[in-house]
Amino acid sequence: MTEAPVHTPPLEATAERLEPGDSGPPLNAAAVLAAVFLIATCGLIYELIAGTLASYVLGDSVTQFSTVIGVYLSAMGLGAWLSKFIGSGVVVRFVEIESAVALVGGTSAAFLFLAYSHLSFFHPLLYGTVLLIGTLVGLEIPLLMRILKDTYELKDLIARVLTVDYLGALVASLAFPMFLVPKLGLVRGALAVGILNALVAIWSTYLFARIVHRPARLVLLRVEAFFVLILLLVGMVFADELTALSEDEMYPDPIVFAETSPYQRIVFTRSGSQFQLFLSSHLQFASGDEHRYHEALVHPGASVAAGLGAPLERVLVLGGGDGLAVREILKHDSVRKVLLVDLDPVMTTLARDFPLLAELNQRSLHDPRVRVTNADAMTWLASGAEAEGRFDLIIIDFPDPNSFSLGKLYTTRFYRLVQRVLAENGALVVQATSPLIARRSYWCVVRTISASGLHVQPYHANVPSFGEWGFVLAARRPFDPPSELPDLELRFLTERTMASLFDFPRDMSEVETEVNRLNNQILVQYYGAEWSRWY
């Protein structure tokens, strides 16, 4: 085995030193400018990702976006200033910084999403990450300019580098909304950009090979960059798992308000004149068609209660903290008392005071007939609900049974507890997910209510933003589907429409199911299996 001749650098140059024009051709300037272009593009994209992510998860997009960008830009200034402390070994430092940007920037979106879902101190992490990426990116261009300083004259150098830099920014600002977010999403988008940075790092080790002594050092740098590249590629493969761990990515429209309560994440999005409410990423209503849902939820039950002879004076709403069902209930003049029991005080406060929602529910929670109690419905029913007396109409509007803690609110035990506060002639209505998408789940709810000892009439309505939606009407005594509707200001229901809701087409008709009980929670299984088939 022969040893390669060892080039012994002069003593003062044991640290890498630029030796332009030493031997062979100078740097390939066009290639270096291409690297500048890529670096600039990546740098701006990280900034856009952090800003978008902050407004996604924290809401209030203007403030979040501008503070993130402010921090990012000042961090770049910090990086530029720090570059003066890098004396010798500029190339090595540059490649190291490239790898670091690739790693930190590439994983930033995934890291921040995960941190958001799992950590309570999200703000310091967000700004810390932005600061770190900004600083690293701020170091890049000054270092590159120093690498190029002997290839060009100063005026040329500045002109060329900055031109390419701004060009990169333009490309980034176009690619981000048009390609990156729609095609890749934030997590994959950041990883893709990180991969680009890692490739630049690897490429640089070849590009600058002739101006660096100690090739062994270069090999090490190359290995580092390859390692980062592989890590990011693995991240690309598992990005879906990562995002599933983080808050679902995310909403089709811009977020106008978001708040996290101890129970759920409340997000309002808006597109044009329409707005939507999401609870823990599940759509609760869209302002454009929620009237279909809430009219169908309230009025058929009210008609049945009236038909059975109930005075329709006292109404109980379980769930439904948005106040929209209460709005419909208050259309009945006979109503003297509405009790709304909802778990989340943040939700009911928003329904009262958040202008967008308070306008939509016609300030129903401000009505003197309405009282709000914040409690877990099951706990409330099991302890002390009977002190409230019995109700002529009970509206049960919980989120779909996608967890054990929601599934318990659809058990025979729960419906037996509800019966304790249901008036002899009263009626109750349960929202019961989609009989089209989750057919077994829907009929399981019907069967469970029936098994708890009530007579049932299943029905459904079309709510375009949800699809076909199912409800169950129930009463202590046998009853027919309602046929009469008092003269109310309704936008969806007529007497003929209402009658048609009780007809089930073939693809939603009854199927055999088990009864959902506390000790089997079979509905959560049905629901999970059925919805995962569609989405």
Partner: protein, 539 residues
């Protein structure tokens, strides 16, 4: 070189001793947690140990009581319940502890109840009529009018999700970790389930079921009883069950029900665990009944039904011997509160104490049988949390088992309350299965609160990253004689069955007479002894 006896244990030694060798390599030893807590005693051990001293004291009082029940565990309470139901007015129950209940003890703190020992009851079928009758009395079960089938109360049946297992850093639904199991392993699980299913249907030459409840009703067929001569591990070996996950499941089952490893467990007992709670092949296994106080809830109901006035706690029985012509018995008992020594002359005695006390307390009876089975020591800790720690994977269930651990994991005492947030209590169980009963007991006795609680915290923090943020208090209870151990050959090879026969006026009732510490067996023996007494009284 002088070998020094290892007298002092480091915390690492204690941790490894309790939790297993996998903790030997743990680099950062958990510091003693900054938590409050204490060692809890349901019975004064010092008082109990005075049982071994033969007293020379002369009783200050002699009283005549028709029936005396010694021991207020489930067997004694069930006997009292049956006597009371049968119209017997004059009987007295003597209990050593501060409250009745035995190993079904429970506690309450800050409005939350929690078990200190037994914490569930598989819902009984019609083969246990007395137990069903007791549960009917308190509305836990009713009979459907049409079919006559038993229907258990939805709020007392264990709510879903029931079980999960912590395996390689993630919680999975159920007890058997299916994630990543090879087809061969799953095949073995299926084959094991089929073997058990076959055993459920097996009947002996006498027409009785091989493995059923109560154990006294099981077939006498020697071919079936031969299983007792085999260890559970040997049984698995013979049928080529070598899947690590299946072996772990069986190991967990043996430790859970018997405080034993499969290599020591009678295969008859091990298979009984899997087969006895199902009435027929292909049927689902009986669902569990459970309450925040665990079986402490059943203790409360028994006490309520019997009447607390008939029960006397902190009573140390010092001796039982024949009185006069031997048709009556004389019980010597020390009231630990007043330090008064009484002699009770009883027509009948129901001896519902663990059988290991017989050699200290029984004297003067002919044909007395010495039955001294081994008992597993247990460590139970109740961990009070101000809110629910996070888990990765399947959400918190009732029973939360840690794969590969020496412990059984923990049970959420508030599970049946259906509150997903706020304060809770986790009951952590650690059977001392790895040594002989006596040396394990010595190890347990030497354990300080700090050592025990730091082991508990170390293990729970290893599967919940934010556990330490939420834990507030750890109380620890040491059960020296937690449950009888059905070791190989102890069920049918020894004096167990003979020990259940009456000695003159003394009738015996305890779960250890079945060789297994099951609520059902204690209840069976209690009501059986009460029926013997009633038969005798009528005569």
């Amino acid at each position: 070189m002088v070998l020094k006896p290892a007298l002092s244990f480091t915390r690492r030694d204690v941790l490894v001793g309790l939790l297993g060798a996998s903790w030997a390599g743990c680099r950062r030893l958990p510091s003693s947690p900054e938590l409050s807590g204490e060692l809890v005693e349901t019975t004064s051990a010092a008082l109990a140990h005075r049982m071994r001293e033969r007293t020379t004291l002369v009783p200050t009082r002699t009283e005549e009581v028709p029936v005396v029940i010694l021991g207020g565990g489930i067997a004694g309470l069930a006997a009292a319940w049956w006597l009371q139901k049968s119209g017997i007015e004059r009987f007295e129950l003597l209990e050593l502890g501060r409250a009745p209940g035995g190993t079904s003890a429970s506690g309450v703190r800050d409005g939350l109840e929690f078990p200190w020992g037994a914490h569930y009851l598989p819902s009984p079928g019609d083969s246990q009529p007395e137990l069903v009758q007791f549960l009917e009395q308190f509305g836990t079960v009713s009979r459907r009018e049409a079919s006559g089938a038993l229907e258990y109360s939805e709020t007392e049946l264990c709510a879903a999700p029931k079980e999960r297992v912590y395996f390689r850093g993630i919680w999975f639904e159920g007890l058997y970790p299916r994630a990543g199991a090879s087809p061969a392993e799953l095949e073995q699980l299926g084959r094991f389930e089929r073997e058990v299913d076959t055993l459920i249907g097996v009947r002996g030459g006498d027409g009785r079921r091989a493995l059923a409840l109560p154990i006294a009703e099981c077939s006498d067929d020697p071919k079936l009883r031969a299983l007792d001569e085999l260890s559970m591990a040997e049984w698995l070996d013979r049928l080529d069950f070598d899947s690590p996950r299946l072996r772990w499941l069986v190991d967990y089952a043996c430790r859970d029900d018997f405080g034993l490893r499969p290599s020591e467990t009678s295969a008859w007992a091990g298979l009984h665990y899997f087969a006895a709670r199902t009435d027929a092949p292909d049927e689902d296994s009986a669902e569990f009944l459970t309450w925040p106080a665990g079986n402490g809830e059943l203790v409360r109901r028994l006490v309520k039904a019997v009447g607390a006035s008939r029960m006397h706690c902190e009573q140390l029985v010092l001796g039982v011997e024949p009185e006069g012509d031997g048709r009556r018995a004389r019980v010597l008992v020390l009231d630990a509160k007043s330090n008064e020594l009484r002699a009770l002359i009883a027509e009948r005695v129901i001896y519902a104490l663990p059988s290991f006390t017989r050699r200290y307390l029984l004297s003067g009876f002919e044909n007395s049988v010495d039955y001294h089975p081994p008992y597993a020591p247990w460590l139970v800790a109740n961990v009070h949390l101000k809110d629910r720690p996070r888990s990765v994977g399947f959400p918190t269930a009732w029973d939360n088992v840690i794969y590969g651990s020496n412990s059984l994991g923990y049970v959420v005492a508030t599970h049946q309350l259906h509150r997903e947030r706020g304060p809770t209590v986790w009951t952590y169980y650690l059977p001392m299965a790895d040594r002989s009963a006596a040396s394990a007991r010595a190890q347990l006795e030497s354990l300080s609160w700090a050592d025990a609680s730091s082991a508990v915290v170390a293990e729970l923090a290893s599967c919940h990253p934010d556990f330490r943020e939420h834990a507030r208090r750890v109380d620890v209870l040491k059960w020296g004689h937690g449950m009888v151990r059905p070791e190989v050959g102890t069920l049918f090879g020894g004096t167990r069955q003979a020990a259940a026969r009456p000695l003159g006026p003394v009738h015996f009732a305890h779960s250890d007479l079945s060789g297994m510490a099951l609520f059902e067996e204690a209840f069976f023996h209690g009501t059986r002894a009460a029926k013997e007494v009633l038969g005798g009284v009528r005569l």
